[in-house]
Symmetry: C2
Subunit: 222 residues, 2 copies
DNA sequence: GTTTTTGCACTGACCAGTCAGTTCAAGTTA
DNA sequence: TAACTTGAACTGACTGGTCAGTGCAAAAAC
């Protein structure tokens, strides 16, 4: 119900990529409501500070329903993570492919991916916030989930960098994994900062600033 | 004591910038131990998931001592934040000033600040992790503390960018606040990724990759 | 003799997870 | 089409445990 009637504001409203193939429509709708409630609360307060009662209340559902749909609080969170990063990587990959199909260069592809990242964060700020807050934590139950999920996202950027180097478009001296991490970080942090501290700026402004940095037009010389 | 006898591993070993001017040496030593214990535990587990008993135990101190030295768990955390960011900004500022004194350009200053940031993160990874995890959270008790503390750090970078633009070294079209945020993000995320997922790489490797990105040697054209 | 630390028992609030019971919706039968 | 059946989905009071913070007398450090 929720996913179809309004503009999606949080990750909860993402299309169901069949988390549970046999799930009924009713059940799926309930899960969506729970995702949506959980993502904002956890982004604001953190995982441990968010109670299952709060999630249930915000979703307009009884506490028991949470446990009917998810084995535990952590499992709910892990599925939320998988859900969100799946959408992000799909979006990045599509940006890269579209650019390639239109005959753009690898720099154009990176640029398109930066924009895709910004659009995603613009749409699902709470999810992004939560992802960044949890990514580098060690010793948590969902750590392995995060590792996989991070690798998925970074791999898309690394792919484009590798292609660029192979075709001589990028310098051979670049360090692909480190550069990919730096690029992802640049986008994540700039976007979160934009949302939190400079919300008046347009997406285009942010994109332009990052684009300039990528293309060495800030301090390029040599 | 710790700051002089061995290689400091966590923020707890930072020089005391006189949090409480009247504090005795003994008291200050206890506080340091508590900072050190708290920063690693909170980085690993998050604020809410870390108990006061754990902090006391890791610091080798009785629980009552925690409350003798800090009004509450949150206050301990806030003072920890102020402590850490103070050191970071001091380090950044010094890098910029040293470069200027040696007659370096503004790009050199940015480069030196990137290295200073990396050195800091290398030394105090737990603090950095915790900072990133909390920075964009809203509705937390220590939110105002974080805001001030972020502004301090970003302002140093903005200062160098402004100077560079004023002197014609950087393009006038750059967006100073956004670019500063992006640069800080680039360093933070690349460094955390380095520590978590590519710990084998040297600081110089990471610095070189970021430097290249800054100077447009990845995809510079135009 | 004053400041700081210790050790530990205690309280009151809070919270993850459970479970016996209720409601819903999609049949099936008459 | 109305009455009945069934299993899936949902409910919310309850439980057992945890944890921030307190209080205090005695010991240690300075």
């Amino acid at each position: 119900m929720n996913g179809r009637t309004g503009t999606p504001v949080t990750i909860g409203a993402m299309e169901s990529s069949s988390t549970t193939p046999g799930g009924s429509a009713r059940r799926e709708a309930t899960r969506q409501k729970l995702y949506e409630a959980a993502v904002t609360l956890i982004a604001e307060q953190g995982f441990s500070a968010t109670t299952v009662d709060e999630i249930a209340e915000r979703a307009g559902v009884a506490k028991g329903t949470v446990y009917y749909n998810f084995a535990s609080k952590s499992v709910l969170f892990e599925e939320l993570l998988r859900h969100g990063v799946g959408l992000l990587t799909a979006s990045l990959r599509q940006a890269a492919e579209t650019t390639a199909a239109e005959g753009g260069s690898r720099v154009d592809a990176l640029d398109a991916m930066i924009r895709a990242g910004l659009v995603f964060i613009d749409r699902y700020p709470a999810f992004t916030q939560l992802y960044v807050a949890e990514l580098w934590r060690t010793n948590r139950a969902w750590n392995s989930t995060l590792l996989v999920v991070r690798q998925q996202a970074v791999a898309v950027v690394e792919g484009v960098l590798h292609e660029g180097v192979a075709q001589g478009e990028f310098s051979e001296e670049i360090d692909v994994p480190l550069t990919a991490a730096a690029l992802v970080g640049m986008v994540l942090v700039a976007a979160l900062d934009w949302k939190s501290f400079q919300p008046g700026r347009s997406l285009d402004d942010v994109h332009a600033a990052l684009s300039r940095l990528l293309q060495g037009r800030v301090s390029g010389r040599r």
